[in-house]
Structure formats: structure tokens, C-alpha cells
């Protein structure tokens, strides 16, 4: 008998370690033949800690399980949820990038290979650099970090650059509120990321990789480090990748609590040991990146999707999706929802379906008011926009963005003026300080919103002007996109910015 208890940090934050400890104790006390496997999460966070028991060839789920449920669980007195694959939230997904996450032991390379791991890398080893890049281009993969830039084109630029040393840098600085896909894959299937980075290295002629992640993710750091050591010991990483005669190795680096370091050039400065100030482009990091050398900077999910593209073929991947948004997206459903978690699906599902059906509406049971998509720089969408299909261009058409695909749901108690103020405050706290519209503008934005709150209607046009200056005059998307949440809140919920309501509330 195998008992799976996730070691994902969301599961741990809900008591998974205590459950595992109690299970170990009970197994010993009862003299049971049982092995506890600490897997990643299956992504249904409302069911965590989700325990799975595998026996007689069947793997059944139970959850949420608390420490106090363990005795009853082993006595067979807890009803099963059935197989994870049959739970509606899971059954509705298309899992490509996250196929193995939660299924396998994240630190067992044998388990990884038994579930299709390393097939992509083995195929890539037999291909020329040209063919590797073409495969990525054909897949239609676009950067999952937010900007949606075609990954194959970025790789080609690095491949064509002449330099004695090139780098693959994985952007694992996942700082957007409402997102946790990078963390989940690093904790639940780290070899996928290692494999994807190695394929990138082979394709571009880079021999060294870095995973730059956040200090807020200590578990992900620990799992990645262990996985890298295991991969190195097995010859997946090192001077002779799987015996192919080419080298690739990598390291984990940890940031120090700066949101802006998720911006790729700020990240490179930070990796070099400098202040995380954004660099002007050009030069592109692809030509002059880490230490001035050609560097691919890609998001975790972009890189972790590469193995399945090579294992199943670019065409297979490109067959999913909508228009120019090809493949699948791991959508992270968060905030005030009944069913929160990771939902990987082909691009194209309408936002309303995601919120009302998949997420089951709000946790509070109150009506949905607004949904922020794409992190702190993403717009607030109104329920009137729920027909919008989940895709890059489709969201752009709504003056919104999908970003790293986090969706945060708010019920009708949300105060949209406060949310707009928070967006400005966040920008002020996290600004790298290089441009005035961002550094000073965000502070003015907070003050202007405070005036609006006090009933000063003349401050509304000021806020709009300020947003225009930030949009036009900022070097990066921190200053440049903060107007998205601010203006969307203003446009879709004007009554909350109107002086009469503001005054009325103040008078109450």
C-alpha cells in the first residue's frame, strides 16, 4: 500500500506535515505494510491536504484530511472522493505541462521516467539546434511570464549570437498575487523544469542555467536544489548530458524580496549582485544578458512546457488553444472562490465559465463583483466581460491582460477605490526608482485616490492624466501597467469613485 501526502507548500500550510507524521506513527503502531510518498499537489487546493491511498492497483483520494482524521482514514471510515481523475474540476482539464504534478514522487527520477520524463530531452539530443528551435516555433509556445513573446524566436536570437558563453535563466520570481503555478511545478515536478532548461541549453548552445526564485518560496528552493543534485548524479546534468557529449548544468539563486526583480533585466542585475534596477532595452538580454552575454530569460512554465512539446510533438501541442494563443495554460484560480487551485486547460475558455462553473463562484456565497486577471498589474474585469475567452489577444481587446494567468475573484464587499489605491501603493513600494512617472507618479496616485475618496471629483481627471503619464513614460510594466487595475476599477465601477457615494459613506 502506498499513501500519498502532498509536500506542496499550500498542502503543508493546511496541515499536510502533521497528517504525514500522524500516518507514520499509526502505520508503525498497526504494523501496516505501507509506504508514505510525499507528492506534489494535484492542484485542488480546497481539498488539501488531499491524501491518496493506492492499493490493489487502485488509487483513491480522500480530502481534506486533518491530523485528527488519520485514525478513521486507516480504519476505512472516511468516504473516498473516488479517483482524482474523475473529480469534475480535474476531469475537465487538459494536463500537459502539469501531467505528472501530484502524480509522482517529485524527487524520484525513476518515477519521472516511468511517467514519460526525459523522452523530450532524448528526442532533442538527436536533433540539430535548428530543428530544436523549429520545434519550439511550430508549437506556438509563447512566454508564460506575462508578455507572451514567442519562445522559439527568443531562443533563435540566442542561438545565432556568437559568444563563448551563453546562459539559460529561468524566471521563477513569481510575485504576482493570485499565481502559484511556478511554485507548484518546482515543488511537484522539478525534473520537468530541469529537462526543459536542458533542451533550451542544447538548442541555443548554452551550457549554464540559473533558476532565479524568491526568498518567499523556501520549499521550492529546497526541492529544486535536491532535484538538481539528483539529476547531476544521474548524468542528466553535467559535462555530458545523457552521454550526448554536450554539457549543461544549473544552479538555483534566491532573490531578496523585490517584486520588480521578476522583470527580466532587473532579474539579471540582481543575479549579477547589483541593485535590481531595470535596464533599458536595447540591448536585448538575448544578446547582452547575464554578465553581458547572450541569455534566454524564460518563465518557469514556458520552460517546463518544453519537455511535453518534444515528447508529444509540436503539432500535438499546437492543436490545443485559440487563434494565436496555442496550447494550454495553467490557470490559477484564487481569492474568494469555492474551488481554488490550478486548472490547466486549452486557451479559449470564457472567463465567466472559469469563475462561475470551474471555480464554483465565491467562497463567501455572495455575488461576484470583479475579477483581477494577471496579477497586480492586471485589470479588474466586470461580470459584463465574462464572455471574454481566455487568450492573449482576446484579453488585450478588453484593455486587460492574462499575464501569468492568475485570476483573483472578489465578492460584492470589495471596495474598488481601495483596490485602485492598493495598486498605486504597491507600485510605489516596489518601484525600482529608475523613472519618475513610476517612482513619483505612484505616490501621487495614492494621494489622488485619497482625495477622490474624500469626495473631490476634480481629482478624477487628475488620476486619468497621471495614469497616462505612467503608461507613456515608464520604462517597464511596473509603472507602465499599474494604470490597468486603476483605470479598470474606475471605468467599470464609476459609482465607487463618485463624490456623492464617497461623501455619503464618509458621513455614515
Amino acid at each position: 500500500m502506498k499513501i500519498y501526502v502532498p509536500m506542496d507548500s499550500a498542502a503543508k500550510a493546511l496541515g499536510a506535515d502533521e497528517v504525514a507524521a500522524k500516518l507514520t506513527q499509526e502505520i508503525a503502531a498497526r504494523g501496516l505494510e505501507a509506504e508514505i510518498v510525499r507528492n506534489g499537489t494535484r492542484g485542488m487546493i480546497w481539498l488539501e491536504p488531499l491524501v491518496e491511498i493506492e492499493k490493489d492497483g487502485e488509487r483513491l483520494a480522500y480530502g481534506p484530511i486533518s491530523e485528527d482524521d488519520v485514525t478513521a482514514l486507516l480504519d476505512g471510515q472516511i468516504d473516498t472522493l473516488g479517483k482524482v481523475e474523475d473529480i469534475p474540476f480535474f476531469a475537465r482539464q487538459t494536463r500537459l505541462t502539469f501531467e505528472r504534478c501530484g502524480v509522482i514522487d517529485p524527487l524520484s527520477l525513476a518515477d519521472y521516467e516511468a511517467h514519460g520524463g526525459l523522452e523530450g530531452l532524448k528526442r532533442a539530443i538527436g536533433m540539430s539546434q535548428d530543428a530544436i528551435i523549429d520545434e519550439v516555433k511550430t508549437s506556438g509556445l509563447r512566454g508564460r511570464g506575462g508578455a507572451g513573446f514567442p519562445t522559439g524566436i527568443k531562443w533563435d536570437t540566442v542561438r545565432l549570437a556568437h559568444a563563448p558563453q551563453k546562459y539559460i535563466v529561468c524566471n521563477a520570481d513569481e510575485g504576482d498575487s493570485g499565481t502559484f503555478a511556478d511554485r507548484m511545478i518546482m515543488e511537484g515536478d522539478p525534473f520537468t523544469l530541469i529537462e526543459g532548461m536542458t533542451i533550451a541549453g542544447l538548442g541555443c548552445g548554452a551550457t549554464k542555467g540559473y533558476v532565479y526564485t524568491r526568498s518567499e518560496y523556501p520549499d521550492a528552493v529546497a526541492v529544486m536544489q535536491q532535484a538538481i543534485e539528483i539529476a547531476r548524479a544521474a548524468g542528466v546534468l553535467g559535462p555530458n548530458v545523457l552521454g550526448c557529449g554536450r554539457a549543461f548544468d544549473m544552479e538555483v539563486r534566491v532573490g531578496a524580496g523585490a517584486y520588480v526583480c521578476g522583470e527580466e533585466t532587473s532579474l539579471l542585475n540582481s543575479l549579477e549582485g547589483k541593485r535590481g534596477v531595470v535596464r533599458a532595452k536595447p540591448p536585448l538580454p538575448a544578446l547582452e544578458g547575464f554578465l553581458g552575454r547572450p541569455t534566454v530569460v524564460n518563465n518557469v512554465i514556458s520552460l517546463a512546457t518544453v519537455p511535453v512539446i518534444f515528447a508529444k510533438g509540436a503539432e500535438h501541442y499546437a492543436n490545443f488553444g485559440l487563434g494565436r494563443s496555442k496550447g494550454t495554460m495553467p490557470i490559477q484560480i484564487a481569492g474568494n472562490v469555492k474551488f481554488g487551485g490550478l486548472f490547466e486547460t486549452a486557451f479559449g475558455m470564457p472567463l465567466g465559465t472559469l469563475v462561475n462553473e470551474v471555480a464554483g463562484g465565491t467562497a463567501s456565497g455572495r455575488p461576484v463583483k470583479a475579477v483581477q486577471v494577471g496579477g497586480p498589474l492586471g485589470a479588474y474585469l466586470h461580470t459584463d466581460q465574462f464572455d471574454t475567452p481566455f487568450g492573449y489577444e482576446e484579453f488585450d481587446g478588453q484593455k486587460a491582460l492574462i499575464g501569468h494567468a492568475g485570476i483573483v475573484v472578489f465578492d460584492d464587499t470589495a471596495d474598488m477605490l481601495s483596490m485602485a489605491r492598493f495598486a498605486m501603493e504597491f507600485c510605489a513600494v516596489e518601484s525600482c526608482g529608475k523613472c519618475t512617472p513610476c517612482r513619483i507618479g505612484a505616490v501621487r496616485g495614492v494621494e489622488t485616490l485619497d482625495r477622490i475618496k474624500e469626495g473631490d471629483a476634480s481629482a478624477i481627471p487628475l488620476l486619468e492624466d497621471l495614469c497616462e503619464v505612467m503608461t507613456d513614460g515608464s520604462l517597464c510594466a511596473l509603472g507602465g501597467f499599474t494604470p490597468y487595475p486603476v483605470l479598470s476599477a474606475l471605468r467599470h465601477f464609476p459609482e465607487e469613485f463618485a463624490p456623492n457615494t464617497a461623501q455619503k459613506e464618509a458621513a455614515e
Binding site: 507548500s9 499550500a10 503543508k12 500550510a13 493546511l14 487546493i45 480546497w46 488539501e48 513569481e174 510575485g175 504576482d176 498575487s177 493570485g178 499565481t179 502559484f180 511554485r183 549554464k208 526568498s215 518567499e216 518560496y217 523556501p218 544552479e251 539563486r253 534566491v254 532573490g255 531578496a256 524580496g257 523585490a258 517584486y259 540582481s270 543575479l271 549579477e272 549582485g273 547589483k274 541593485r275 535590481g276 534596477v277 547575464f290 554578465l291 490559477q332 484564487a334 481569492g335 474568494n336 472562490v337 481554488g340 487551485g341 490550478l342 467562497a363 483581477q372 497586480p376 492568475g406 483573483v408 475573484v409 472578489f410 470589495a414 483596490m419 492598493f422 504597491f426 513600494v429 516596489e430
Partner: protein, 162 residues
């Protein structure tokens, strides 16, 4: 107040610096290791860091001050981080933070007079599907409420007044 450095400290500093000297871009790993060892970036490490990396004191100060994580003054014995970001706000995180700060008699970044705990804001812990979230030292708390956070605090002998 920075305590004068002892010869042992100088030894530990030199060891940390040389252990990371071979890395490409070694400064952040060095600063993390120093803070892990001393709880702060000790003043006594400035000169050897500048020398090892051939950077100026101004550059070093610039880096240390840029990042929210690095401390020049020690924090309390424990650090409670409460998430202030949007997903946590949608689940009542703002009110939770205000109540906890009031009970501890602190503002953000403040430390209790007994030096037991410092409270800091954090912007997302990746627990947005089980918000609101907090972290006491390295222990994560999801679906945080007063009771869960106070239980974690009292396990560290940190008293909370009602």
C-alpha cells in the same frame, strides 16, 4: 547599535565570503549567507565584501538597501509575515492584519518590546487559493484567522493581548 565585531565573527565572515567567491554574481548569495549566520548584514562584513568583490562601499550599501529582505538592524527573535496582496485581501486579509497588529500593539515592521516578534508585510506567498496567508519564521499558515495565527504565535511563546 552595532556590536563591535569579534575575531570569531571576522573568521566567520571571511569563511562565508570565500565559500561563495567562485560563483558568478556572488554578492546576493554572500549576503543571504551572512544574514543567515548573523541575523543582519554585519557592518564588519562591509570592508571584506568590498575588497573581495572590488566594489565601493556606496555600491554595497546600494545593494543592501535595495532589497526588502536584507537587514542592517536585527529583527525580533521571530518574524511574522502577513500577506497584503490582492488574493488575500479578497478573503479578509486586510482586516486580519489590522487586528493582529493591534493585538500585538505594532505597526508594520515593528518589533514587540520584548524583542520576540517582528511583523512584516509580504506581497504574496503563493497560497492565494487558500487565502489569507501568513508565515511565522518558515512555517506557512493558510486560511489564516486570528485563532490559527495566535496558536502559531503561542507555540513560540509569543503572547497576544485580546
Amino acid at each position: 547599535m552595532t556590536p563591535a565585531s569579534s575575531p570569531q565573527d571576522d573568521g566567520a565572515i571571511a569563511e562565508i565570503i570565500s565559500a561563495h567567491a567562485h560563483l558568478e554574481g556572488p554578492l546576493l548569495p554572500m549576503l543571504h549567507a551572512l544574514q543567515e549566520e548573523f541575523g543582519v548584514i554585519p557592518e564588519a562584513a562591509h570592508a571584506p565584501l568590498c575588497k573581495a568583490l572590488t566594489i565601493t562601499r556606496a555600491e554595497l550599501k546600494g545593494v543592501i538597501s535595495f532589497y526588502h529582505d536584507f537587514r542592517e538592524k536585527p529583527a525580533g527573535k521571530h518574524v511574522l509575515k502577513i500577506c497584503r496582496a490582492e488574493a488575500c485581501q479578497s478573503m479578509g486579509g486586510t482586516a486580519l492584519a489590522e487586528r493582529l497588529l493591534a493585538k500585538l500593539g505594532l505597526d508594520w515592521h515593528g518589533t514587540t518590546p520584548d524583542g520576540k516578534v517582528t511583523v512584516e508585510p509580504v506581497y504574496c506567498l503563493g497560497l492565494c487559493a487558500c487565502a489569507p496567508a501568513a508565515m511565522l519564521d518558515e512555517k506557512l499558515i493558510a486560511r489564516a484567522d486570528d485563532a490559527r495565527v495566535e496558536k502559531a504565535l503561542s507555540a513560540k511563546n509569543i503572547g497576544v493581548s485580546a
